[in-house]
């Protein structure tokens, strides 16, 4: 494959698209597919065949506002239809070239206007199983540019210049990590993509892997060239069967086009990628545990140093990045580091994809520039909490993150600001809670999660989370005392400071942040045996409070 050949493929794909006057795109992401997007696409294809117009029906990845699904977009008009049913297919096809179907059209300008799409630039536009679609939208151009015009050092320099930080949660500067692996000595190096999105309530990585798999592969190949690796692994959760199958197809297509394999683009660069399946262990999102899992062992973390950058997979220097980090690489190479650096806030550059869910009007995937206020994401892009209820908190960072109350919503989103508030950026889950959620119970939910997911290697995490869970259960059932609260706070700092890996070190965050911002709810549970949200069952203690067992 040469640049000319790549351009020829792109040109052919564009010519193929130009044969049609209209393009009807159907979102086939999990949320839309679970509402019958597959049958809808078949119905649209059938209607398109018999209508006499030149119509192309295309399946795409996630378009974003999942709560409006199934979604259909008609180009070139860019009309977006929501809640489309199979029976609506003929009406949509009939309307092509005329007035849009009024009852299905949806106006989501407010939802889209504040967004900036870098990682999701192709989501909702390309067929994820067609490499030509990706190439037609400048795909693999960055890889070929890198291989033919840039030195490995130059690539590392460009990524450093962009200011990109790891999107998996920690926010370690990506350029610095690449530089360390590039400098590490070793004849064999590995590149690993962390697609073990174990954080419940987050699905950004799934959508990227399912909707635009080539983008991840291209990012990995560029990384491999930069650090001098020849072998890559994508570690994907087994719970994401569609992502696995899309990636498998994408890898096969990339190999067939000579974009993976030996002597890529007639250069001495060799690189290939293998998929490894996770098996449902949250701790495997931690890099040393992930390495153990790829090696076929139990996913237990190891003390660092040595860091994977010097001794990782099978003891070789290994570069591990998150799916979203790799997805940012191709645009950075294409547009330059400065372009990326100009977006975002002072110390957090670029954009971030969030999975907006919970008690909010428009749920789905959003991509916003760093530094945007949380209030804008929740109230403008997400449409706020549905009427009748009041916003209480937004949870970011999953079980390692914290709950942010209403009074902090005017703070701009960045790694440092979220850390200061007692939460973390995390991989990008953003769960909105209203007055029907009890914050003590939420803390208990997360501690229960960490307790079950603790690998059991180090005592603070294994025993500490279990004891924290017991204390929170006592408080939630009305048996808690002020001594329990003091003990809980004490345990939080012990577990935080003495655990081996990130899971234990961050496990107390949901408790600490709810204690910080919603302490009165804890006190109400303990002193007045009352749960203001009506979630916790205090019956054991206070038989006068009638409530259903839900906790």
């Amino acid at each position: 494959m040469t640049i000319e050949e790549l351009e020829q493929i792109a040109k052919n794909a564009r010519q193929e698209q130009e044969k049609f006057d209209y393009e009807v795109k159907v979102c086939m992401d999990l949320a839309c597919a679970s509402q019958g997007a597959g049958e809808l696409k078949d119905a649209l294809e059938k209607a398109a065949q018999s209508c006499g117009k030149k119509v192309c029906v295309r399946r795409t990845g996630c378009m974003g506002p999942c709560s409006h699904g199934p979604l259909v977009r008609v180009d070139p008009e860019e009309t977006l239809y929501h809640h489309v049913k199979q029976a609506d297919a003929p009406a949509i096809v009939d309307s092509l070239g005329g007035e849009p179907v009024k009852k299905l059209a949806c106006d989501l300008h407010e939802h889209f206007d504040k967004q900036v799409r870098v990682v999701l630039e192709n989501a909702g536009y390309i067929d994820p199983e067609k490499i030509e679609d990706y190439i037609a939208r400048d795909g693999y151009k960055a890889l070929l540019t890198v291989l033919t015009e840039m030195t490995p050092n130059g690539v590392v320099h460009r990524v450093t210049e962009s200011g990109l930080r790891g999107r998996g949660g920690g926010g370690y500067p990506t350029g610095l990590k690449w530089g360390t692996v590039a400098k590490a000595k070793g004849d064999l190096k590995y590149v690993v993509c962390n697609g073990d999105e174990g954080d419940p309530g987050a699905f950004m990585d799934r959508s990227v892997m399912e909707g635009d798999p080539h983008r991840v592969i291209e990012g990995m190949a560029i990384a491999a060239y930069a650090v001098g690796a020849s072998k890559g692994f994508i570690y994907v959760r087994a719970e994401y069967p569609v992502a696995v199958s899309r990636l498998t197809t994408a890898l096969r297509e990339a190999r067939r086009h000579g974009l993976l394999g030996n002597g890529i683009c007639n250069t001495p660069f060799n690189f290939d990628v293998e998929i490894r399946l996770g098996a449902g262990a949250f701790v495997c999102g931690e890099e040393t545990a992930l390495i153990a899992s790829i090696e076929g062992k139990r996913g237990t973390p190891k003390p660092r140093p040595p860091y994977p950058a010097s001794s990782g997979l099978w003891g070789k220097p290994t570069l591990i990045n998150n799916v979203e980090t790799y997805a940012n690489i191709a645009p950075i190479v294409r547009n330059g580091g400065k372009w990326f650096h100009d977006m975002g806030s002072e110390r957090s550059k670029g954009t971030k994809v969030f999975a907006l869910t919970g008690k909010i009007a428009t749920t789905g995937l959003v991509e916003v520039p760093m530094g945007i206020k949380l209030r804008e994401i929740i109230e403008v892009i997400g449409g706020g909490v549905p009427t009748g209820h009041k916003f209480k908190a937004v949870q970011t960072g999953g079980p390692s993150g914290g709950c942010i109350p209403a009074e902090m919503l005017d703070i701009g989103v960045s790694y440092d600001a979220l850390l200061k508030m007692g939460s973390i950026m995390g991989s990008g889950g953003m769960i909105v809670m209203d007055d029907t959620s009890c914050m003590v119970n939420v803390a208990r939910f997360f501690i229960e999660f960490c307790m079950t997911e603790s690998c059991g290697k180090c005592i603070p995490c294994r025993a500490g989370t279990a004891q924290m869970y017991n204390l929170l259960t006592r408080i939630c059932t009305g048996a808690g005392t002020m001594d329990d609260l003091a003990l809980l706070e004490d345990l939080c700092s012990t577990v935080k400071e003495t655990s081996l890996c990130g899971l234990g070190q961050t496990a107390p965050n949901p408790v600490l942040s709810t204690l910080k911002y919603f302490r009165n709810e804890y006190l109400e549970h303990i002193l007045h045996k009352r749960c203001r949200a009506g979630v916790c069952n205090m019956e054991a203690i206070n038989s006068e409070t009638p409530s259903e067992v839900t906790a």
Binding site: P200, A238, A279, G358
Partner: protein
């Protein structure tokens, strides 16, 4: 070192060939343990003593390590599943939207706890950590098929339908 000869397949069952195929594809390397257990589970529905023994022996992994891996990861199950599986997602978004109520209702209906199968082997009730369909919470998987925005009534209706089969 003498060339390694893999042990014979445990029986005539064709599914063993599929399992063996996964191991062969990976050159019978030890690191293929998790991949192979995935194949066993997708072919047989669960991991039993015989299959763990066979995989451990073929990959030359200590039995303790194979058993350790099989029990460490939540995705693997050592018990045969029922004819139908109802998996209720217990991820954060589903929890906020009331997945606990669905679980309680299903447990009451089937008279079993999550993770168990009804005595007649008809229905297994499972919970998942998150299936990534958070925007449609609460989510339930009926025999692996994702259904969003579920109510207790809908779940009970499906369970009744299966029980009547």
């Amino acid at each position: 070192m003498p060339a390694f000869t893999p042990p014979p397949l445990p029986s005539e069952d064709k599914r063993w060939k599929i399992v063996n195929g996964t191991m062969r594809k990976n050159g019978f390397a030890r690191h293929a343990l998790i991949e192979t257990l995935h194949t066993v589970q997708s072919s047989f529905g669960y991991l039993d003593d015989e299959s763990i023994r066979f995989v451990a022996l073929t990959l030359r992994v200590p039995l303790s390590q194979a058993y350790g891996v099989a029990t460490f990861y939540h995705y693997f199950t050592l018990k045969p599943p029922g004819r139908h599986t109802c998996t209720i997602c217990a991820g954060t978004a589903c929890y906020i939207k009331g997945a606990d109520k669905l679980i309680a209702a299903a447990e009451k209906k089937l008279c079993i706890k999550q993770g168990q199968t009804t005595p007649d082997g008809q229905i297994s009730l499972m919970t998942a950590r998150c299936v990534g369909a958070c925007s449609r919470a609460p989510v339930v998987l009926y025999d692996g098929e994702v259904r969003g925005e579920m109510t207790s009534e809908q779940v009970l209706g499906q369970l009744e339908g299966w029980a009547a089969e």
